[in-house]
Symmetry: C2
């Protein structure tokens, strides 16, 4: 079995109001020195067999087109075969 | 500067309809062998200075109470000092 972890985050230049709200709440609840918070998504995908060849290419394509919005988001993809 | 990454995922026994929808979409778009998809949240928190002592304890408490819902979600917290 292969486990694919795709982390999706807003591009640095895109405002993140959810992250901003979390940063404010952390500070109000007593956590000092909060510089910035960014909130993203994480997909954990379990696949039959190993991920290799064309299926890897398709997985990367879908991470960039289905799981994330390439206009405003970046993604990272890691595979544990 | 310390970077704290908090990953929040639904507990395994909690149904994840978003993940189920993503699993279906991946299959329809040609990805074979999808067993399961779980969708979670990722918080990337940048803090002034190093995270240690009481501030670490507070960060862990807030990850479990503010960033996640302990009734239905688990979290993992990693620190890069």
């Amino acid at each position: 079995m292969a486990r694919v972890v795709v982390n999706v985050a807003l591009k640095p230049e895109i405002l993140d109001p959810q992250g901003r709200a979390v940063a404010g709440a952390l500070g109000r609840l007593g956590l000092s020195g909060v510089i910035d918070v960014r909130q993203g998504k994480q997909f954990i995908i379990d696949l039959d067999g190993e991920l290799e060849g064309e299926r890897t290419e398709l997985m990367e394509k879908l991470a960039g087109e289905l799981l994330s919005n390439p206009v405003i988001e970046d993604f990272t993809l890691t595979v544990e075969n």
